[in-house]
């Protein structure tokens, strides 16, 4: 059955039609055309689809769009401030924190949630936090380095 769902996405109220069985990630990508959120494994393991729901990072392939009704969603498109990259995005750029870039939106959304809870994470804490985000290119070293650099920059800027 076709239903209409309404949610706040990156600060704007957005509505669209879908089915009850439509996943949140599918709604974001195909209905709202926000294709920055990726589908990797579709089995809640890889983390390419991580978005924030009411401030908490979740895997949008394992949540229905209808469950996001009335909620506040942030996707990778809502992270930068206009043309100015978020410090985490800038740090990934400067530290070569990506190769193919497929996992990067999820990595950044996950890192944002980490730094929100723990503004000064150790390397070990960063690696533990990234358990749910898989990267098949970098071996994680530069991703961890990027997140550590971003934490420093964000602490200095606040």
């Amino acid at each position: 059955m076709t239903i209409t769902v309404t949610m706040t996405v990156n600060g704007e109220e957005r509505s669209g039609t879908c089915e009850e069985r439509t996943l949140l990630v599918t709604f974001l990508r195909e209905t709202l055309r926000l294709t920055g959120t990726h589908v990797g494994c579709d089995t809640s393991q890889c983390g390419a689809c991580v978005v924030h729901v009411d401030g908490d990072s979740v895997k949008s392939c394992t949540m229905l769009a209808v469950q996001a009704e009335g909620r506040d969603i942030t996707t990778i498109e809502g992270v930068a401030d206009g043309d100015t990259l978020h410090p985490i995005q800038q740090a990934f750029h400067e530290n070569h924190g990506l190769q193919c870039g497929y996992c990067t939106p999820g990595m950044i959304m996950s890192a944002l949630d980490l730094i929100k809870h723990n503004p000064d994470p150790s390397e070990r804490e960063i690696r533990e936090h990234l358990e749910g985000n898989l990267c098949r290119c970098t071996g994680y070293h530069n991703i961890v380095k990027s997140i550590r650099a971003a934490a420093d920059k964000m602490a200095a800027g606040s």
Partner: protein
Amino acid sequence: MYAFSFHKPETLEEAKRLFGESDDPRYLSGGHTLLPSMKLRLAAPSDLIELNAIESLKGIALEGDNVVIGAATRHGEVAQSRDVQSVIPALADLAGMIGDFQVRNRGTLGGSIANADPAADYPAAVVGLNATVRTDRREIAADDYFTDLFETALEDGEIVTSVSFPKPVRAAYMKFPNPASRYAIVGVFVAETTTGMRVAVTGAGASVFRVPEMESALAANFAPNAVADILISDDDLNSDIHAANDYRAHLVTVMAKRAVEKALG
């Protein structure tokens, strides 16, 4: 995923009414098992009844020496709860080991134990701490709750409302996780409780089970060495691409030993 109707009741009564009126309903909590199962078409309910809007299923409360956790409480909330951390640190520790950060932001206690996955972590704490499962119609003792592979004592349509965990004298959980899914290949919860010693094993068999030999050994001497030479039979243990049954039996001993070490701090 096949089509279904979605419902979001705000009271238990409404949830039960919807369940009664539907052809082939399923309750939905965190959705981190049910939705993947539906994608694989292993489950195809006619109606999904989401329980997360029911306020009475949420929250963590202290009742005397018990920590009572609402069924719709997410793993991340349990892991980060100051109350759980101070009264039963082993339980907060276990909750923080479930899946990954994002999974812990969605998955719930009630969903985990209603589903009773053989490799889930929570069953080890429920049985290890001799908890009481509260439902919309009764209370069920931990030892009577988990009955078999994905099977519990719950009746059709019965809803877990909360779980009451008594404060142990000391306890700890150790697991050997599958590196991809973080599910327990073997997890062992060791607890000295006010009603006796308990060793509960998850991941190894069809359902969580206790190890009486280890319990009596620990009752006599609560030390890692007390369980180091106890090897359980691998006859009824799981054997799959992740680990053979004899390896799981070996891991039970190793995880039990490490859990005792951890409980001793």
